[in-house]
Symmetry: C2
Subunit: 164 residues, 2 copies
């Protein structure tokens, strides 16, 4: 049982790391895809935060004697999301950029909710602490995106002077 | 401008309809994929609710003189999600089933947040009302899934008598 829980923890850590790698691509693509200063700042700021998340999770994987890999062996839905990351630049409206970002944040929130619990089951208090810290940041980012629905729709409908 | 907003409303309605079609597949697949009564009930119940959402959104599309189509022309991320729907049955743990469901709900929450605002911009009060009603249900479902993290991880770690 102990070994199985340990293996599951490493599996969840690797999934979470793959999500952070994806988030690095997405936040950068989203920041480039919008000319709106407010949305650019939102994605650019989270891109910087995501670099730190990737580093923290990589360290936890290494602490378990494993190495990080390129988004490999990730579950079906996450793999599909990863495939979508490249397509994100083509999102045609600020509304859709915001939606994609919101979905990405909640994918990560779910992953960290699970990771923290699996880490607790495995007695890895360090991963629990790191996971909770990142979870809090992902929640805040999701809230910032949710606060931007009005602005994103205004941009999408061409109600501001700034093009998307 | 009026025509452009109208066209955008129909585009958002069609995206939302594609998401509901995807949700119909996913909730059914998820309900079949778990032997746990609590998780089965959660997904089965939302599958029934989703049938009603699909019908309501289809009616709004038809009210604008358009017809629904199979998930066609949906934006990059949503198309990637749709491709992942089929893979969902292969999700290997209850934790991942819960995560996929949580992500699906937040994809819909984002879509309805945008739809309601675009509909408001287009003066379509009927779509605003329908959208807000469904949005409330998607939020409740997301909360139910979030309430099940502990249970899902217990199942994933084999801490209950029920296999996944």
């Amino acid at each position: 049982m102990a070994k199985s829980t340990q293996e599951k923890l490493v599996s969840y850590l690797k999934d979470t790391h793959a999500l952070e790698q994806m988030s690095l691509q997405m936040t950068q693509a989203a920041a480039k895809a919008t000319k709106d200063p407010q949305m650019h700042q939102l994605f650019q700021h989270h891109h910087e935060e995501t670099k730190e998340h990737e580093r923290l999770i990589r360290q936890r994987i290494e602490a378990h004697g494993e190495a990080v890999s390129k988004a490999k062996g990730v579950g079906g839905r996450v793999a599909a999301l990863a495939k979508g990351a490249g397509a994100m630049v083509a999102s045609d409206t600020p509304g859709r950029l915001a939606r994609d970002g919101y979905v990405q944040e909640h994918t990560e929130i779910a992953a960290y909710e699970l990771l923290c619990r699996v880490a607790e089951g495995a007695g890895d208090t360090e991963t629990v602490a790191v996971g909770q810290q990142i979870l809090e940041n992902e929640r805040q980012t999701a809230e910032k995106i949710a606060d931007s629905w009005d602005h994103a729709v205004e941009l999408s409908l061409g109600k501001t002077g700034v093009s998307a």
